[in-house]
Subunit: 424 residues, 3 copies
Amino acid sequence: MGSKYPPSLRVCLPWWALALEAAFILVFFFYTSYDTSSKNQKTLMETYRGFQDVTVMAALGMSFLASSLRRYSWSGVAFSLFLLVLGVQWALLVDGFLENVSTGKVVITLLRYRDLATMSAVSVLISLGAILGKANLLQLLVMVPLEVTAFSTMRMVNRRFLNIDDHSNMMHIYVFSAYFGLTVAYCLSRGLPSGIQEKDRTATSPSLFAMLGTLFLWTFWPSFNCALLNDPNERKNAVFNTYYALAVSTVTATSVSAWAHPQGKINMTHIHNAVLAGGVAVGASCHLISSPWLAMVLGFVAGLISSAGAECLPVCFNQVLGVHDTCGVYYTFSLPGLLGGITYIVLLTLQISWTKNSMTGYQVLYSEALRMAVASNALCLVFSLVSGFLTGLFLNLKIWKRPHITKYFDDQAFWKFPHLAVGF
Amino acid sequence: MGSKYPPSLRVCLPWWALALEAAFILVFFFYTSYDTSSKNQKTLMETYRGFQDVTVMAALGMSFLASSLRRYSWSGVAFSLFLLVLGVQWALLVDGFLENVSTGKVVITLLRYRDLATMSAVSVLISLGAILGKANLLQLLVMVPLEVTAFSTMRMVNRRFLNIDDHSNMMHIYVFSAYFGLTVAYCLSRGLPSGIQEKDRTATSPSLFAMLGTLFLWTFWPSFNCALLNDPNERKNAVFNTYYALAVSTVTATSVSAWAHPQGKINMTHIHNAVLAGGVAVGASCHLISSPWLAMVLGFVAGLISSAGAECLPVCFNQVLGVHDTCGVYYTFSLPGLLGGITYIVLLTLQISWTKNSMTGYQVLYSEALRMAVASNALCLVFSLVSGFLTGLFLNLKIWKRPHITKYFDDQAFWKFPHLAVGF
Amino acid sequence: MGSKYPPSLRVCLPWWALALEAAFILVFFFYTSYDTSSKNQKTLMETYRGFQDVTVMAALGMSFLASSLRRYSWSGVAFSLFLLVLGVQWALLVDGFLENVSTGKVVITLLRYRDLATMSAVSVLISLGAILGKANLLQLLVMVPLEVTAFSTMRMVNRRFLNIDDHSNMMHIYVFSAYFGLTVAYCLSRGLPSGIQEKDRTATSPSLFAMLGTLFLWTFWPSFNCALLNDPNERKNAVFNTYYALAVSTVTATSVSAWAHPQGKINMTHIHNAVLAGGVAVGASCHLISSPWLAMVLGFVAGLISSAGAECLPVCFNQVLGVHDTCGVYYTFSLPGLLGGITYIVLLTLQISWTKNSMTGYQVLYSEALRMAVASNALCLVFSLVSGFLTGLFLNLKIWKRPHITKYFDDQAFWKFPHLAVGF
């Protein structure tokens, strides 16, 4: 068992993590306090419920979704939790500072930031899917503040200059995180040797754990999509539309996966991801859609492109672009996310043409909203690609001592096993 | 790996599924709209919580409960989700049409139908337990609309002609689904060769996944039993009684399972199912029982007959009746469900005798309710047997190309495995 | 497969369990009734939500946390559930009797006792961690009433004579259960032969199931710590502080675990437990802490001592004290629990010194509270050690026919396996 494992993790990781944590505590000490405004218990406990759902998605759903690799399931679960908690703390601070940048003293009202912070931290977990197994924990640790800062800055720009509300802003998370993760994966990419490909597979038990993650996400996705909406009617629409879109994308993804295989066999890896495409696609416009069929059509198209992408894209990505997308982030989040953005813009355009002959005031309003939506989507793409590229270059530095290619997708490099790795 | 697998799935399934989904979208387009009546947010979000619990039970609980077979755990989980989402959409439409059959235009108010639809779809998942591993996905796909329609029609008849309320009506789900599933399994049954029996077994990891499903169901069962009750006091009773019945049936089932084995060893498969018997038995009368001991006695008896059934019935069923009940639906749902129906009738009879010397009005009322309850239970049995038999005959047609008997309980027929099946 | 297994379980367990259950039903019949006071539905359903979270933690979290042993995962999960339901019923009765001991007739208002009873039963599950795999189910069955009674008596004494409120009282659960379990483990301890040590290990899948339990506990711990608080502001503080403490202890535990290994490899077993240390440590004072940084410092220290303890203590415990602590109860619950008790006392002392120059009334009040807190912590320690010792001696009697040492940590002694034990 002579270790080829570089000593980076041993030397650096604990100190970096503990130093970062100590810094967090100091900053929290000086700059934060709990919101003591007089909210009554009802509101608090209701907020708590919604927040709990988002935490369940992040901690249980995303963690287990990342456990699908045969020899990398421990890392998938435990690293996700590690990055989540760091991301939440960082997001809380960054969001607070960006919000209160004008005033001298920064007071972070925590009640509101809970949802925002947890959801921002989820962006790291989405990006993680693209580089899972190809970076060490220290690289991931460094990625957390970089990605969360980029995401928060983008949302701040959107809010300040494009007047985008919290919900629409947050729904950029899918596209942003996916392209960020893919760009980082591109920068980190090397040709994978043929032997290593076998590790990038799933097996029966890890697949069921990943299915558990998928089902957690599937069940609680409506809570995620409605978390930042305040209007009761919009919340209701968001919950129902997300549910319908998810239902239809489940059927579509399963069917297309069976259809694509010459013997009609379904690919479990596609199911894990494509099933969720509906929830991603409907995100941006879930509060606007007012009849179930539209959400269902969205879910149908999302399931279709997601499954089709899962079938065709990996080959193309690996060989042409040289990007290795471990957990299929591209077809799970990017494509449906883009579809969602386009749908939102189309819906606004339709509303403009419908109001053409009626009140001019509304039309101006909608045209303005349309311009802003287009701009914010473009901004999101640019931000994610640029920040992802810079982060990727930074993570490629030798000082991080990235794992050797033979250690890719292997828990043994990071975990103390009872004897040796015991099968799977 | 020369495939003995018939091409039915490849040729038909995706087209059928996609066509069905397209049909759903069309019907939703023409006939449904969201309920826009002015419910305030409090009510909505509370409904959402209750609905979320039911979804957790259906998606996480029932799916993982079906993952117990050693070589069939992927199918168990993923097919359950697939059938669930189809069932929900179909149930939503069928319930809406049956409710509004008199008016010309059908408007489906969705808020109320959410619980009903998800719960109706659960009936398919219960029946699935009896035929799991012995039918292909296309047959299951065809079973969904047939079973949901039969179940909804039965409830409509009960509501219209027997004046049964929503809760009592829904609580027929256990008996209905179990007998439906068993009858279908009877129609599909062939003698299983001895080699195949080994696949119809569990192993360590699949068993823990099934236990996960059991625990999800166990934890959220009170929400299922109280979902359709409106009176706060009845809700409270339902929650508490379900909880007590489940607690006692857990103790009883474990004890009886140890007692039945010559060396006192407990059978994990019995635990998975018999633990839940209390929740089934208490369903029909959970809102009426006003002291915990009665619920506990019910749980005790339910655990007893369920464990005893699990010990004795499979042999009898397999050899005498020729029914192969994969997941033990008979002793999990049928027997405790019948016990629940009988308890409900006994409780009504007792209330009649108690009110004998008091006001005559109440007595007449109770006598009427008793007659209706007896009739609706009988109707439920007849409906389930007849519709199950017809469905079973229909599914037995050659056009569905049911899997060859050597492919029973085998994921490989349906799933693309990384290499081959990797152990378990 | 000649059985070395003693016939105790077969002969005694089912009868004992069924007799106990029958006794429960009788006592419930004579002494209990549902609370029929006019609470409105809102309150009930909100209580139900909080209760549901605690049940999820107990049934899903604690059960799966106990599934980490390679050959003992079935027993870990199923025995936990068995003990939980017995514990809840017993706790309900004991709490009721101790509360209403003065009046002649005992009326148990159930609404309030739900949380108390489930949380008391959790104490058994915590203690179970120390003796898991080394006692048969009959011994565990006997331990339930003994431990729950001791815990309830301690809380009654605290409430009566030391005027401690429900929340602070319940937060003794961590220290009490851990020392109780460890003392029982000490009484049951024998030198483990070297071969058996290998069974006391984890493997990939069981480890992921344990991680699932950890994540359930991690996600719902805020609900546990705030369950018995009534003031909205205290609830809010409890939720937030628990969340921050857990986040920081996650980072710390992971880092320290990597730091302690010569090659920087993380120990999964430490992660399972040390991650939760923050929630334990913050328990006693979570409603008092008014800024996040303090909770974070607590989480930091808790993660530190918990991980350090996980690294160093097992060797010391095994060889010096002769205590074998299967699931690391000592470093998961004892040490952070003690830290929490000390923090509570320090916080009160600080408040005394801060109010020194202000109103005297407050100072007297705080001094009184401080005295009571010190006394109740001491009482908790003494109670747990004494009752644990007596219980341990009692469980050591020959009549219980404890498993032979070669059967430690082995599911085969208790479970009927399909063929034989199938790998893991």
